[in-house]
């Protein structure tokens, strides 16, 4: 029982540390030999945003609620799409340009559903997850407001 719990905890994480995509893909792949397609979205820190030059980014999250929302997204993706496993990770803290921010990995029997679910997860993550982004620019700091 504790193994299952800790497994599930590894599938949805908000963490400061960087992550390996190979490791997270293996987590999905190892869930079932029926998986034939794994769609992944990796978000990285761009050096520009609305014409502003960005030197680095700080992500802040609402501990507890952020994890809860990401778990909800995973559960709904598994219910609403014909997919086998989903991993969702988001980093917080200071992130340099080019570094990893967010990762969605979706394994399915067939690729079309893997793509659909992966795209849905990252769109939904942006809408419902209490995470905020402070961009550091040469002119100062900007809290980014994402409009839907």
């Amino acid at each position: 029982m504790s193994t299952v719990k800790s497994d599930e905890a590894m599938l949805v994480r908000v963490q400061r540390e960087n992550f390996s995509i190979d490791v997270e893909i293996d987590r999905v792949r190892n869930r079932s030999k029926r998986i034939g397609g794994i769609a992944t979205f990796l978000g990285t820190a761009r050096d520009r945003s609305q014409g502003r030059e960005i030197s680095s980014i700080t992500f802040e999250h609402y501990e507890g609620m952020a994890q809860k929302k990401l778990r909800e997204i995973r559960t709904r993706a598994l219910q609403d799409f014909d997919v086998i496993e989903v991993v969702i990770l988001h980093r917080y803290g200071d992130i340099a340009i080019g570094e990893n921010i967010v990762l969605i990995v979706v394994g399915a029997e067939h690729r079309a559903e893997a793509f659909k679910a992966c795209k849905w997860c990252i769109d939904e993550l942006k809408h419902i997850t209490p995470i905020w982004k402070l961009e550091h620019t040469p002119e100062g700091e900007v809290w980014v407001e994402q409009h839907p």
Binding site: W132, E141, V142, W143, Q146
Partner: protein, 97 residues
Amino acid sequence: MTVTVRLFGMLRTLAENQPEIVVAVNGRHQVNDLIEALQTLYPEVGELLLKKNVLVSVNHEIAHGETEISSADEIAFLPPFAGGAGGEWRGGPHVHG
């Protein structure tokens, strides 16, 4: 009754970086009463609450104006989310030097 409200992102910046504020709430002890109380206590935060798309959460769930609150609840003000990456960002012009 007083409640403790957690602040995040630009709201915390506006409240002089306090991670939480304590607010005395009168009336029917609903989210609406909390927001009303805030207009007086922290006018800048109150203005942002009205102007921006700020959500209120009670115990990690999004609340509405009529949601009942008590001192034991975990309450938070949530400015617009900006998790993820690679989207179309169209933020406002607020630059804090």
